[in-house]
Amino acid sequence: MNTRFSLKRFQALPSLLLVLLFVVIDAFLIPHFLSDAYASSFFTSYTPLILLTIAETVVLIGGGIDISIGSIVSLVNVTWVTLGGAGWGFWSSLVVSLLAGLAIGVLNGAVVAWLRVSPLLVTLATSSIAGGLALWIMPYPGGSASANLVTWYQATFAGIPAPLLFVVIAYLLWLGWALTPWGLRLFAMGNHMHKTYVSGVPVASIQFATYVFSALVAGIAAIAVTANTGAGDPTIGATYTLYAIAAAVIGGVSLNGGVGTAAGAIFGSIFLGLAFSTVYAANMPSFYQDLTSGAIVLCGIIFASLTKLRRRRQFA
């Protein structure tokens, strides 16, 4: 137990160092970087990414991958805004839209776990299903979210930005899984599916649960996205998928399964957020920003794989 814990810390360390490095760089580059206001605006923008990285991490630890989380965010976002516009109450519309997102997760999990189809292709197909649904419900960006929600989301309580509440919820959800025996079974399954199956662990059910979990957390991320933009947009989630996978990889999560922590996921996504903030702060023309952010993400993935290669060689 003790060695497992120290190893866990070690995994998140490189991403933590990257975060600290960029905090120091940005403290010099970006005016008022160390102020409460900047922290609050940072977390309003990047809380969705942090949540989606946690969602992706759980699936990756289980040896799968979920590339439908971005589309789930879009689906929940447009459903919520559309139902709100149709006169539904705040909570009833929220519950229905979260259930819509969960339905995609249930579909993912059922097809991957019990029909045994490659998770990559299943979630690719379901991302088209969820994205298509979102586009069907709301063909063009529009509508508006509850004004109270938007105001609350931007507030700070005792210096703590409100969006962090979502991160805490997601982290507690993860701890609720990881600290029970089911956490150990999840890691075991990610390490070696067949051996875990032979040991009598119901691997199909755990696989199913990872996709449902990721859809649930993606739904929470959609709440944060909606509160941040205050409107509905059928393609708002599309770019998040890659960033979430990249952030997880940078945070020390293995794409081969069995290795990773939620803390690493959080640091990895905060690092990406800081890197993007630096790009925006550099005042470059807008049409260069996509290229630069894309290059940073790719370099982050390559850097993470290089450190992993080195680690593997040390063990070999």
């Binding site: 029909l115 490659s118 379901t126 994205g131 996978i245 049409f287 996509d290 952010s293």
Partner: protein, 337 residues
């Protein structure tokens, strides 16, 4: 001890060979039956829903449209056959970039069309090379690598055009894209030639054979003296070049270039490859199958369009069909075995 059994074996092999060849011809044909019958069924459905759908000229249009998708599936087929979870999620972005650079270079610089072609071959090869290095040596899964590269390529296209693509397609490209040779669409002839050449490369060249071997078992291929790295490098480089040049063909077909115009082809090319019977585990698959998969998907999209379905619904149905095909054809064996 050695003499007689060999003779016996020879006779047995000769007899079995004829049998196997017969059976192979049979099974090869059988693979395409669902795809072909689905195409015919969709054509009939389209004809019922909107008369004139199955007319000769519309079928020509459908096949020409399918050729663009078949080109996108060309690189995808190779990458999937190469195995080790090979997949290329950058194809759509590469095609968009090919069209954008193609139109800008051939229209507004002294390089002309052929200069643009050379430039695009170089760019495609470079991207393929980066893919191969990162996948083969840094052990980054192809999915993540190509997805990451797709955003870089899209970002590059945005930066290159400064968000405002301009110019029209060169005459030669439009001649390929929408012209006719006699009564037949030039693009269709182009597509047939591509499938024939592709099948020849897969079946009759050393690269093709090595690709199948490396795809079905990397370790065994390496142990039997195949340079697996070379095979993988060539595969991703061809896929990159096919992506950018496919963008040029798409440019000729559409007439103008837009940002992100090829993005939809990523998902569709994977669907075409899966429907065409290429095993996602690698080591198996044909261009002909992918091309037929492209035909089915194109007819399906046209039927949905003819009924007047919105983009969202079409995307939804495409996703659902891919899921269905996967659930039928690509299930892994039970853990119990």
């Amino acid at each position: 001890m050695k003499g007689r059994p060999v003779e016996l074996n020879d006779a047995a092999v000769a007899g079995a060979g004829r049998n196997i060849r017969l059976r192979l011809a049979n099974s090869k044909f059988r693979i395409y039956i669902p795809v072909l019958s689905a195409s015919v069924a969709l054509l009939i459905l389209g004809q019922i829903l909107s008369p004139g759908f199955a007319s000769a000229s519309n079928i020509g249009n459908l096949l020409a449209t399918a050729v663009v998708l078949a080109i996108a599936s060309f690189g995808q087929t190779l990458v999937v056959i190469s195995g080790q979870e090979g997949i290329d999620l950058s194809i759509g972005a590469m095609m968009s970039m090919g069209a954008l650079i193609g139109v800008q270079v051939s229209d507004q610089s002294s390089l002309g069309l052929w200069g643009a072609v050379l430039l695009l071959i170089g760019t495609g090869a470079l991207v393929g090379l980066i893919h191969a290095v990162c996948i083969q040596f840094l052990r980054i899964p192809p999915l993540v690598m190509t997805l990451g590269m797709a955003t870089v390529v899209d970002g590059f296209a945005l930066a290159y055009t400064k968000g405002l693509p301009s110019g029209t397609a060169p005459k030669l490209l439009t001649a390929i894209g929408i012209g006719h040779v006699g009564p037949i669409r030039t693009l269709l002839l182009f597509g047939i030639a591509m499938v024939v050449i592709g099948e020849f490369v897969l079946r009759r060249t050393r690269y093709g054979r090595n690709l199948y071997l490396a795809g079905s078992n990397r370790m065994a291929a390496a142990l039997s003296g195949i340079h697996v790295n070379v095979v993988v490098f060539v595969t991703y480089v061809i896929a990159g070049i096919a992506g950018t040049l496919g963008g040029l063909v798409m440019l000729g077909f559409v007439g103008t270039a837009q940002l992100g115009m090829g993005d939809g082809y990523t998902l569709l090319s994977i669907a075409a490859v899966v429907i065409g019977g290429t095993a996602l585990a690698g080591g198996e698959g044909t261009f002909l199958g992918s091309a037929l998969g492209a035909v089915v998907l194109t007819i399906l999209t046209s039927v949905l369009l003819a009924v007047g379905m919105q983009e969202g619904v079409r995307e939804l149905i495409q996703g659902a069909i891919l899921l269905l095909v996967l659930a039928i054809y690509s299930r892994a064996p039970k853990l119990r075995q």
